[in-house]
């Protein structure tokens, strides 16, 4: 989830509660404010009534609310003294202008007592009140409107302002995603301190990684180079030893074993050197190479192997395919793929080579189970029945393809393994 949306969710939830609580508090404050003002008015009525009663004792006989807002009832002195001014929330049957028939309306009632010409009366005055449920409804609606208006505004502001604020971050991120070793570091112009700090931290991290990577690469290259001469001495001394003759059969056998091991070392070392060279981009003698020709040349070297293994090779050239690349690397890729297809094949196997306008597809029969495509191109990955290979052949193919950004795909379909090399 985007940071923008996440912050919106937090904001919307907390605003919901803030506005909710605020509405409740506001409601009670409003209500008490209303009551206060109503009570004040009731108090005023009381004084008016008392004044009127003095001049016009008729009203003292008014004993129901039907045609007025107060009732007066005579009481005893002791009753009168017992009454304190009290305000009540109650309801009275009455018909408002907007009502069809009388209904209970909430009212505020003042109960008080007074004395007039030696007699004691109880006075009840009512004043209509706001209907609380109406008030709640109204307030609820208002609060909701406020909430949605606020949210809309916040989303707008978020989108406009925050997006602009975060823009350098997203640009930086996009650059970081497409960053590959050897390219220039991600760089964004911004005056936001956090983003500048982030850039600095990432640059330092990348710098460090690049240095480590370079050292590793150099180490592998140097180590392989340094191994060349000792391997040459070992190979040649063993060859001379065999040539000298006079060996017992078991001695010869031991020497043969050592020779095989040295040969394996030599192959491994050569492959590592080749990988290092590819990764260091030391091959840059790029030319337009006809891959049809490269395939044909390599097949002529391999046809006897294939014949010997009883592997049938068919080539279908649908188009002339050229690639702009180093000739020796083109040979390395094609030869490794072809060897792979021939040597990992069974008795009476088949290899199909299809050259189209923009791709070579090399398919072969062989093992009935697919190879894990993730591991296939990784270094030193070997299948179980292959102890002689270096496990670097396909890693080299992949390295060349990566260098030229040619996609290489592996598929397993109805017992055929196929490698598709696409040329851009």
């Amino acid at each position: 989830m985007k940071l923008l949306n996440k912050s919106l969710i937090y904001l919307s939830v907390s605003l919901f509660f803030i506005i909710g609580v605020w509405s409740v508090v506001f409601y009670f404050n409003l209500l008490s404010e209303i009551k206060e003002s109503v009570d004040e008015r009731l108090d005023n009525y009381k004084r008016q009534i008392l004044a009127t009663a003095h001049k016009d004792p008729d009203i003292l006989n008014k004993n129901n609310f039907d045609d007025g807002f107060f009732v007066i009832r005579e009481i005893t002195q002791s009753q009168a003294f017992a009454i304190r001014d009290t305000y009540w929330d109650t309801a009275v049957m009455m018909q408002d202008a907007d009502d069809d028939e009388p209904e209970l309306e909430p009212v505020r009632m003042l109960i008080t007592a007074f004395e007039n010409d030696g007699k004691y009366y109880e006075l009840r005055i009512i004043n209509s009140m706001v209907e609380e449920d109406d008030l709640v409804e109204e307030l609820f609606a208002e609060a909701l409107i406020l909430y949605f208006v606020l949210m809309t505004l916040i989303i707008l502001i978020n989108n406009l302002v925050l997006k602009r604020l975060w823009q350098p971050f997203y640009t930086f991120l996009a650059q970081l995603k497409s960053y590959r070793i050897g390219k220039s570091f991600p760089q964004v112009e911004t005056n936001t301190q956090e983003f500048n700090d982030l850039q600095k931290a990432v640059s330092i991290l990348l710098q460090h990684n690049v240095e480590t990577f370079e050292q590793q690469k150099q180490f592998i290259g140097n180590a392989s180079h340094e191994l060349q001469t000792p391997l040459a001495i070992a190979t040649n001394k063993l060859e001379l030893l065999i040539e000298k003759g006079n060996l017992q059969p078991e001695q010869a056998e031991s020497i043969a074993e050592v020779m095989h091991i040295v040969e394996r070392l030599v192959r491994l070392n050569k492959s590592l050197l080749l990988l290092t060279k590819i990764e260091n981009q030391q091959f840059l003698d790029n030319k337009t190479v006809s891959l049809n020709e490269v395939v044909k040349q390599n097949l002529s070297d391999l046809e006897q192997f294939a014949e010997y293994k009883n592997v049938k090779i068919t080539v279908s050239e649908k188009a002339e395919l050229t690639a702009y690349m180093d000739v020796s690397l083109a040979n390395v890729v094609v030869s490794n793929l072809l060897r792979n297809a021939i040597f990992h094949n069974g008795e009476n196997g088949q290899v199909n080579i299809e050259i189209s306008e923009n791709a070579i597809i090399i398919s072969n029969t062989g093992s009935k189970t697919p190879i894990n495509p993730q591991k296939l191109f990784s270094r030193f990955h070997k299948t179980q029945n292959d102890s002689n290979g270096t496990g670097l052949g396909l890693a080299i193919v992949k390295a060349v393809c990566d260098l030229y950004e040619f996609p290489i795909l592996y598929r397993f379909q109805s017992d055929w393994h196929s490698f598709e090399l696409r040329i851009k």
Binding site: H225, E226, Q228, T229, L231, A232, I233, A234, T235, N236, K237, E239, L240, I242, E243, L247, P249, A252, E253, I255, A256, M259, E263, V266, R267, S271, L273, K277, Q282, F283, D285, S300, D301, L302, Q304, F305, Y308, K309, V332, S335, N336, R339, N340, F343, D386, N388, G389, T390, L392, G393
Partner: protein, 245 residues
């Protein structure tokens, strides 16, 4: 230590005789130098050695060689400078660079500056032998380019093979195998060296010993049928040797 040996000159059938060819080996790794000398002595070459820049430079200025094996990384200087010096002095020696680096730059520069071949360490003795003979042969021969041995003749220009003046048809690879053996007459040719030379450099995945055995078997059959007086002899299951019968 590596003074001139007395040379038995006894290869009457060879048109190009390599016996007595003067070879200078410039290599700073003592062990490798010794092995190279031991191996090339068997070919009856006259061998001199130099293990640093200055002694190599001196020898190259004073004497003429048929072939110089030149390491590029030397104490006190680069083999490439020696190569340049050699060409400036107007010497015609064939130069084969032997280097641990098969870096494209060195190779190109070396060949541009007049080296005749470039061999990356580690190499097989048989391969070095073949290369030395190939470069010397290239310069010694005018037109004709054949190797003769016993009653057989291998014509490298026409890629034909004769036994008792009778043409024996060989396929391309069989010719290459025989050619390699004839350049390494009486010497061990390991199966790996043969596979690399004949079927290309990258023998990464080839479990190819059986395959090579099969190819040799076919070639032997042809030699016997043609009554050639040469034979490919197995050497301890490691390789083969071409001998006269």
């Amino acid at each position: 230590m590596f003074e001139k040996k007395s040379i038995p000159n006894f290869f009457p059938n060879s048109i190009v005789t390599f016996v007595g060819m003067k070879i200078l080996i410039v290599e700073d790794e003592k062990e490798l130098l010794e092995t190279l000398v031991a191996s090339l002595n068997k070919e009856h070459f006259v061998i001199e050695t130099a293990s640093d820049f200055h002694s190599a430079s001196e020898k190259m200025a004073l004497y003429d060689y048929d072939c110089i094996l030149l390491d590029i990384m030397l104490p006190h200087g680069s083999g490439l400078d020696l190569l340049q010096q050699l060409k400036q002095d107007g010497k015609t020696a064939n130069v084969i660079i032997i280097s641990a680096k098969d870096s494209l730059d060195d190779k190109l520069t070396g060949l541009e500056w007049g080296a005749d071949d470039y061999l990356t360490k580690p190499f097989h003795i048989a391969e070095l032998n073949a290369r030395i003979k190939a470069v010397i042969r290239r310069n010694k021969l005018d037109g004709k380019n054949t190797i003769e041995m016993a009653n057989v003749v291998l014509d490298m220009n026409d890629r034909t093979f004769f036994v008792n003046q009778q043409n024996v048809p060989l396929n391309r690879k069989e010719f290459d195998i025989l050619n390699y053996f004839m350049l390494n007459k009486n010497r061990l040719v390991t199966k790996t060296a043969l596979a690399e030379h004949v079927w290309g450099d990258n023998t990464d995945q080839a479990d190819n010993y059986d395959f090579i055995y099969y190819q040799i078997k076919n070639l032997r059959k042809k030699l016997i049928e043609a009554q050639a007086e040469i034979e490919i002899e197995a050497v301890y299951g490691i390789g083969y040797k071409l001998i006269e019968t």
